[in-house]
């Protein structure tokens, strides 16, 4: 089972106000955890919504497990095998977690009461919500609401799970827990994780793409992206706190007792005598990729 995306474009509006969210995206996504990384406004949510059958592309083709998403029949078939957690998750505050999941299960076509109850109980357990299942959603924290979101996405035991910015706003413990859950789920299905948080991809995905301004800038494994930054990552310590310049991009800054240590990416750090080469991380690879793209004429 795979997802094949061919020459996919999406433009919102028309004329001078038109916004090109996707510009000829080609991707093939197989089973396992797939990370989609990119800055805000890169087109990630548009791509997720197209895959979820919610948004129609302007041009191009999407085949999901052999179903064509451009047809109504294909959309319904894909939605039946899909679990979807949107970026902005709304809930019904007056319902309890169990009631909300029961309602979502009905909408997903789980008509048999006993099967539905068993599935709701199972997903409550998977999401770690069993203890609060009968509490109203209006009393839930942000992390608990995200867990309700993932629980509803799992109700129909989906073959494809699409999660859009799932860890935004979660505390570190919740984030780790959430990532582990996604990795467990990815063992026998397609899980697409869309995020702008590099660490989420680094910890979970063996396959990824970087999307920026509607274009795929990178396609490969996190290790491939890290390899791209080999030899261009430096650590520079300054006592006066002046930021390194000369075409270097600061990835992180650490205040020390007697100065500031910068982690930078750039081809040449010779202007800074104290610069020491460093092992690249995925974040360095990502910043290098985006920086190299910005250096090209027109930002392309």
């Amino acid at each position: 089972m795979d997802i094949q995306i061919t020459a996919l474009s999406k433009t919102y509006g028309s004329g001078r106000s038109a916004v090109r969210a996707l510009r000829g995206v080609d991707l093939t996504i197989g089973e396992g955890m797939f990370g989609l990384l990119g800055p805000n406004g890169a087109g990630k949510t548009t791509l997720m919504r197209i895959l979820a059958g919610l948004v129609n592309p302007t041009s191009g083709r999407v085949m999901v497990a052999g179903h064509d998403l451009s047809t109504e029949r294909g959309k319904v078939a894909v939605k039946a095998m899909l679990g979807y957690l949107p970026q902005e998750l709304g809930l019904y505050p007056e319902l309890t977690a169990r009631q909300f999941l029961d309602y979502m299960a009905i909408l997903k076509g789980l008509d048999d009461v006993r099967t539905r109850r068993a599935r709701v109980d199972r997903t409550l357990e998977m999401a770690g919500l069993a203890d609060v299942a009968d509490r109203r959603l209006k009393g839930f924290s942000g992390g608990m609401k995200r867990r309700v979101g993932i629980a509803q996405a799992l109700l129909n035991d989906p073959r494809i799970l699409i999660v859009d910015e799932p860890t935004a706003g979660l505390d570190p413990e919740e984030r780790i827990r959430f990532r582990n859950l996604l990795v467990d789920l990815a063992s026998d299905r397609i899980v697409i994780l869309s995020t702008h948080i590099v660490e989420d991809i680094c910890q979970t995905c063996r396959d990824m793409a970087v999307l920026d301004r509607g274009l795929v800038r990178f396609r490969g494994s996190p290790a491939d992206l890290i390899a791209r930054a080999r030899g261009v990552v430096w650590q520079i310590r300054t006592e006066n706190g002046h930021k390194p310049d000369g075409g270097l991009v600061v990835v992180s800054t650490l205040q020390l007792a007697n100065g500031v240590r910068y982690r930078v990416v750039g081809r040449d750090a010779s202007a800074h005598p104290g610069a020491e080469p460093a092992q690249p991380s995925l974040e360095d690879g990502y910043v290098w990729l985006m920086q190299a793209k910005d250096a090209l004429p027109g930002g392309e």
């Binding site: 948004v55 129609n56 319904v76 709304g90 019904y92 309602y103 009905i106 076509g109």
Partner: protein, 219 residues
């Protein structure tokens, strides 16, 4: 089960509107019951004017104000089903209010035979309610804004009350007049008027369902 959840998720402040109006008109009728003509007038006002306006206003926010609409639309079912189920629940609420009010009127001894027999009497609220629900849901979906649908319904309702004489006299507008049974029950065009409004209401709901297929407008 599904309809029950539609009812449970309905915003409480919206449910307060029919309940509040019901009680207000129940009180007004109770105070006016010594004057049978006045009490009957009030009862007709509630059934024929107030309930349809309420139905129209409630229908305007049936879809576009749903906080979980993205998940609803991602479910493997036709989007028009959401609309039909929600309108059915709203119609159920309005029907309950209408029937309970008639039982109350019966207990108070207020005569409503002027609106026809008990079955025909239901058309006084049902027909305009369906027409206004169709209109407001279509406008709300077209504008992607519940307020717009409610506002248009309110304006049309007011216009028809103020210009009722013109509507009834007009050879074509009489078929679009919402309050024919409650104001002119003996009018020869009553049956055609009700058929026309029912058909129009259905057509508007179908159009609203068609609009809802364009799911990206509502995300």
């Amino acid at each position: 089960m599904n309809l029950l959840y539609h009812l449970r998720i309905y915003r409480r402040e919206h449910l307060a509107l029919p309940a509040g109006l019901w009680m207000l008109f129940a009180l007004m009728v109770a105070f006016a019951r010594m004057d049978d003509g006045r009490a009957c007038e009030m009862a007709c006002t509630f059934l024929g004017f107030v309930l349809p306006l309420m139905a129209g206003i409630l229908a305007a926010s049936a879809i576009v104000d749903d906080p979980v609409l993205e998940l609803q639309l991602a479910a493997p079912r036709a989007p028009w089903r959401i609309l039909v189920e929600r309108l059915a629940v709203l119609l159920g609420i309005v029907a309950l209010a209408a029937l309970a009010y008639q039982v109350y009127l019966g207990a108070m001894g207020i005569d409503l035979t002027g609106l026809g027999n008990p079955a025909a009497r239901q058309l006084a609220w049902l027909v305009p309610s369906l027409a206004l629900m169709g209109l407001s849901s279509l406008v709300a979906l077209a504008l992607v804004q519940g307020t717009g649908g409610a506002l248009l319904v309110g304006l049309l309702w007011l216009l028809q009350i103020l210009a009722r004489g013109w509507f009834v006299a007009s050879p074509w507008a009489r078929y679009l007049f919402l309050f024919m049974r409650v104001r002119y029950a003996d009018h020869p065009a009553l049956a055609a008027n009700e058929l026309c409004l029912l058909g129009l209401g259905m057509l508007l709901v179908i159009d609203a369902g068609w609009l809802l297929r364009k799911t990206e407008r509502y995300l």
